[in-house]
Symmetry: C2
Subunit: 406 residues, 2 copies
């Protein structure tokens, strides 16, 4: 008995893309959707009113950070994250596994789970399937994720298999730990870039009645075409009638291609992280507002955008705020970037529903050709070894930006 | 012929306090008023919509910072700061003198002006009466300030006199530099804590037909009672029918006492600067949201406040945001603190207009007794010698905070 509604409304001809009516404890929406990242129970620099205004319907929050601060006992007292942060829409929580495994971190992994040191107070913590789910139950998210072991997508077959098998055992323990909670839970398919492992992982995890499945172990070292291939290999194996989630992806073009391969749910730090660096998504690619070329630019950021930033502020003002490191610049660009993402998702949904997804995809692919590159985005902040902070917690993916020559 | 309207509507019995209809190029309001500080053409962490919502009517912007970035040529291109930052209310600009003189800074002062090195690009600049007014004209503020020489209020009589005389010569040059600009201009009375100098300064400056006068040279080292005494000494000498401005002051109690002594206009960084540190003004004093005592606190910040922060968020959430250094915490506390200031100003205006200011003052003095102390507020940021950044640019005054024992 699924804790979620997921009814497919349309499927795109010649594509795995589908639009579905997705029902959660905190509301219903049509997929595919993009979830902004609210790492610490706030999407950086934005209020919940801003999120409503830009069109956000569902958020992601990070269990790893929230278990350390404010801690599950605070969520228990408040009856969950929704009231705590004043957001009444659905929320998905990750398991904390990504932060533990994919970033430089002092940790010890055993069958039981991962021991690590808190960056908040230096105390040792155990992240196990049971503790991850206990924290996610306290947070009260609409969708919980199982704890999985993340490994780089470039590991050997033997290592990928070992991590996958541990992930399967942890998935079962995560499922059992949920008990009779009304919160939904997704399994996470692992197996790196090995087709046989992906198949075994889907078989093992679909034997457990999860409410949906994530394609895990991607956007961690593989090429763009490997990512696309293994997304499709996995979605073709997954049940048609359950939601599919591609964690931490990605650029607009990544999302478009993943929708084409059958993905329904996305999250990514990119719109906020690039906003902080002064980068805006615009019709023809990305724009670096810090560039001196914009010092006197008296036009809107994007003439094709009707967001509150584009209708009220000039490129010159955004250039000034960005150069001066004013948080208003971060906020105004976050609003624009999220409107850009949500508008693209709305266009994708509309094109699937009216049978024009193939044409939409072709047009967008052409417009955005060359705007993604397989080079890591530098965040401009050095990681402290053995510790990770909320700013370094989310992989911004293997995507560089194109500087417009306007 | 004044560039401002200033018609006194009521004077409080037994007090110098008055309420006046104050008319600028960008709107009319009743004084006394508090101006939030928009150092770099943005009040930190807030949008102009937020400022309207909290009740801000007039802002201060810092000429020193704006002349260095984005530079007067950008304001010239945009026809001024109002369109640049999308704020259609009145704006007052300081002269840049405070930043040059009162903070550790490499500079050379001559009769011509002050030479200093830009913290933005390392270039040398001259801040003279003529350049300050030229920049303020480009910014297009409703009220410009003359360039004055600021000295600590504890200097010797000889040094205070020398700085005062230079200030008078610069005031005349500033006035001449305005020409036929429609922008209003205020003179700044100097003279440190010497009654004879204050008298001479008022005499010299009122000989020039400024549109208003600021009481300068206070909140820079003197005691609270000296500040109050010299505010009153100066306001008693100033013309009754022109607006009076006490620059950079202060705490709620400072403002109340200065209104009693005849001041009409205020600005201070305190509501924003304390918000950044996690401090909120509440009915009984100040509250340090970082304190562990608030970790589980499920009540509003201030039960007596109807601002959007108090009606929507718990102390526990504000504690979490503050501890986690999320800019949303800064923003939510800025909103609350500015509502607190603007509500106090509204109460002050109402009490002057209905003849109850003395009673209002007595009640407030009692409620806030002990919430100001003569200890400098530490900003938690070390100043780089020879350079000043926008964060260190405004004196938060000689005010410590009281930690509530809730």
């Amino acid at each position: 008995m699924s804790r979620l509604g997921f009814r497919i409304e349309a499927e795109a001809p010649g594509s795995q893309a589908r639009a579905a009516r997705f029902t959660t404890l905190h509301g219903e929406m049509i997929t595919p959707i993009f979830q902004p990242v609210g790492t610490q129970a706030t999407v950086k620099a934005l209020t919940v009113e801003d999120l409503r205004e830009v069109g956000s319907r569902m958020l992601l929050a990070n269990t790893y950070h929230l278990m350390l601060r404010p801690g599950p006992e605070v969520f228990a007292k408040f009856g969950g994250i929704h009231r705590f942060m004043n957001w009444d829409g659905p929320i998905l929580t990750d398991s904390g596994g990504f932060q533990i495994f994919s970033l430089p971190h002092s940790r010890a992994i055993t069958e039981a789970g991962a021991r690590f040191q808190s960056y908040v107070d230096g105390k040792m913590h155990l992240l196990s399937p049971e503790t991850s789910i206990a924290v996610q139950k306290a947070i009260g998210s609409d969708v919980m994720m199982v704890l999985d072991q993340c490994v780089p997508s470039t590991v050997s077959h033997a290592e990928a298999e070992r991590a996958m098998l541990l992930t399967h055992r942890w998935a079962k323990r995560s499922f059992d730990a949920r008990g009779d909670s009304p919160q939904a839970m997704f399994g996470i398919v692992q197996g790196a870039c090995y087709e046989d492992l992906r198949k075994r992982s889907v078989d093992a995890l679909t034997a457990i009645p999860f409410d949906g499945y994530a394609v895990g172990g991607l956007a961690v070292g593989e090429t763009k075409s490997e990512r696309e291939d293994f997304t499709e290999i996995t979605t073709r194996l997954l049940p048609r009638d359950l939601p599919r989630y591609l964690m931490g992806v990605g650029t607009p073009l990544d999302i478009l291609e993943a929708v084409h391969r059958g993905i329904d749910l996305f999250d990514c730090i990119l719109p906020s992280a690039l906003a902080k660096r002064g980068t805006a998504f615009v019709s023809r690619g990305k724009m670096q507002l810090r560039r001196t070329a914009y010092k006197f630019a008296d036009e809107a950021l994007d003439a094709n955008c009707d967001c509150s930033t584009c209708t009220r502020y000039s490129r010159a003002y955004l250039h000034h705020l960005t150069k001066a490191d004013e948080v208003l610049g971060w906020k105004l660009l976050s609003i624009h970037n999220l409107v850009f993402y949500h508008r693209m998702m709305a266009e994708i949904r509309a094109s699937i529903l009216d049978g024009t997804f193939a044409a939409y995809r072709a047009t967008r692919r052409e417009a955005w050709a060359g705007t993604d590159e397989d080079t890591p985005v530098r965040t401009g902040k050095r990681r402290r070894p053995g510790r990770i902070s909320p700013d370094s917690s989310v992989n911004v993916g293997d995507h560089a930006e194109l500087v417009l020559s306007t």
